[in-house]
Subunit: 404 residues, 2 copies
């Protein structure tokens, strides 16, 4: 397998040292619009199987040419979701497989944005499913941690733990703190604004509907010492992916974003600073959201100042195989001190980066096989979860017990 | 008197129709960095005593040349306080009098910003007092509404109402609302950020000290139906001006900015979006604060969507002429419906614009005479307050009574 990894930002750069410890591929070409960023990511490992190129992810033709020139059979998309469609199309045109961690973007319903869905996350990709099947190629979409591992957990629960599922609720929370900054998000602010300010989507009784941003707040008690964190509905791919393959009455995604961050996002929206439309400032034309991102520290560089753990997981409620009510939380925790010491990557980007590498290894070895546009829950979860253990990053399960 | 009015923004444009009803001057040249903005302000009145030019307020030499070319004997500064020093210096160099509504900017104390003053508001101007005296010219600084009218009120109280003053507290509040926007400040956001995020300054027992932003919140009950508004300490010129001419144990400025606006300002600071240092965004270089200002509606254009009243005033506590405790609030209220109907200007900019015109009329008629750098409280308050009545915008006084 020869891989074109597009994007040497936080997650793309974290992929390199993870993949460097594995031997399922022949070569990885790391591409970024800033060639020195790609070169830096490659220089972090002393491994001839990696090389760096400059590439504009928005230019479909240039990406297709790079896939052909470097004889890559997989495009691994690690850039922000604005570039999902040109990369997805370039891979199809070049006859390569494709993997991403964030699907094509949504557009709100023109009249009822907080009740009805408009264009949903991934709609543009699923519309092309037939072409991928015809080409005999796999587009594995939403294959990071959330979406990604969270969907694998859902499939595992459906196959092995439950006879009938009432609700699948993805829950993400952390106790990470960053020293030395008044405010420093641990993940891309551009993407966080996108997912948190869009109308959150919920699957319920056979259909998708939307709500107001930050709706249905609940306190979820995260494991591994993280403890209770307030979570709110957020637009996320799992809600669009899980119901396509798994029966559940309800599917939700709630993010433990915290009161302070919610306040920041509401203020950005109120002031129009979430906008991606360029405005005139003096002699320049700038999109407010790009300026907000530029004024904050790059989350990938904060690992040394961070401490704490981040947890991603899937909370499933329903009827167990034995017919009695069951409730479990399948989860994956990364301690920033561990990921920094072991890989030199901060916890949040490391946790996003490891799962697509595991998935590519399963694809390379023929364990995960498929054609068309497929989510992680379309595949057997067991080999994935076992291989994750082999990557030194085990998952865990908390079983709810009746109160005494 | 020939006046060079620099700045045809909200306040500068509001000056034109106010001055057009008076006859104390010969000509007013309206100057702006955007000539069409100056021309528009002039076009709003059909009066040959006004003309428009293009002028870069940051260019001392250009301003000095304009003063000479148009034979102006007064420079009226109506641009934001970044440009105070070049305009102040240009007027001195050209032998003109000078008037502004916001003084030269402060710089926080390098080590104890929230306890000690660094460079104070107006320090750069007062340092040049000798040169103005030598030139026999007047620099009337801080002559808007606050500072400006508020300082006139303080002088009136000291001369006519009190034997001894304990505290002079400027209090500013409104019940203005703007329809159709999630967030729309009624005054320059650039200036509001500057004054609200700098360490507030307080005069107490013979010296100036600073506090944390938004300190010492108190609810002040504003008159004219506005009612109780939460006010907090804000850096403002009155605190620096009043103690130079008036004996008082304590001088404060509190702004009824409201909880929502305070939250917005705190978030802007947390994200570094209050900064005036340019940062790189894609190919452009932009100061975050300039982008924030550009993304919000221009407050001067909001009059039609606004309703409510704004109140500026001076709360004085001490011992009355008869030796008994006394407490008064001297105030000036503008109803947006009135200022729009009468002058086509929204309430906040109209209230800022009227007082410097009154002051210039007193200077033109020789009622207010002086040489050097002087604040409004250096002059007799009575002719000012009487003339304000003649402008159709009377002031009022509320006397605190003992509770029964």
């Amino acid at each position: 397998m020869r891989i074109l990894l597009v994007g040497a930002g936080g997650v793309g750069s974290a992929v390199v040292p993870i993949a460097a410890r594995r031997d399922f591929y022949e070569h990885i070409v790391v591409a970024d619009s800033q060639q020195d960023r790609a070169a830096q990511a490659v220089a972090a490992v002393d491994d001839p199987r990696f090389s760096a190129i400059r590439l504009d992810a928005s230019d479909r033709t240039q990406v297709e040419a790079a896939l052909r020139e470097h004889r890559c059979d997989v495009l691994f998309n690690a850039v922000d979701p604005r570039f999902t469609m040109p990369l997805f199309e370039a891979a199809l045109a070049a006859g390569a497989h494709y993997l991403d961690m964030a699907m094509s973007l949504s557009r709100p319903h023109p009249r009822d944005p907080y009740e009805k869905t408009g264009v949903k996350l991934g709609d543009e990709q699923f519309a092309r499913d037939g072409e991928w099947r015809d080409a005999g190629r796999l587009a594995l979409v939403g294959m990071g941690v959330e979406p990604g591992l969270a969907d694998v957990f859902a499939r595992y629960a459906a196959d092995h733990l439950f006879a009938d599922i009432d609700e699948i609720g993805i829950r993400d929370g952390s106790n990470l703190v960053v020293e030395g900054y008044d405010f420093a998000p641990t993940f891309s602010i551009w993407t966080t604004i996108e997912e948190c300010l869009n109308p959150p989507v919920v699957w319920e009784d056979g259909e998708w509907r939307t709500t107001e941003p930050f709706s249905e707040p609940e306190v979820f008690d995260f494991p591994a010492g993280i403890g209770p964190v307030e979570c709110v509905n957020v637009e996320h791919e799992e809600v669009l992916l899980v119901p396509r393959w798994i029966q559940a009455r309800r599917v939700t995604f709630k993010y433990g974003i915290g009161e302070e961050f919610i306040g920041v996002l509401k203020t950005l929206r109120k002031l129009g600073l979430d906008s991606t439309d360029k405005i005139r400032v003096g002699g320049a034309e700038v999109a407010p959201r790009d300026l907000v991102a530029a004024s904050l520290p790059d989350p990938a560089t904060l690992g040394d100042r961070m401490s704490g753990k981040t947890c991603a997981g899937t909370w499933v409620k329903g009827t167990g195989k034995d017919g009695s009510p069951r409730e479990v939380y399948l989860y994956h925790v990364v301690d920033n001190a561990w990921s920094m010491a072991e890989y030199g990557s901060q916890a949040v980007v490391w946790q996003t980066a490891v799962h697509p590498v595991v998935a590519l290894e399963l694809v390379a070895n023929g364990v995960w096989k498929g054609e068309g546009v497929l989510g992680p829950e379309a595949f057997d979860a067991v080999p994935f979860l076992n291989l994750l253990d082999a990557y030194g990053s085990p998952w865990a399960m908390r079983e709810a017990r009746e109160a005494a």
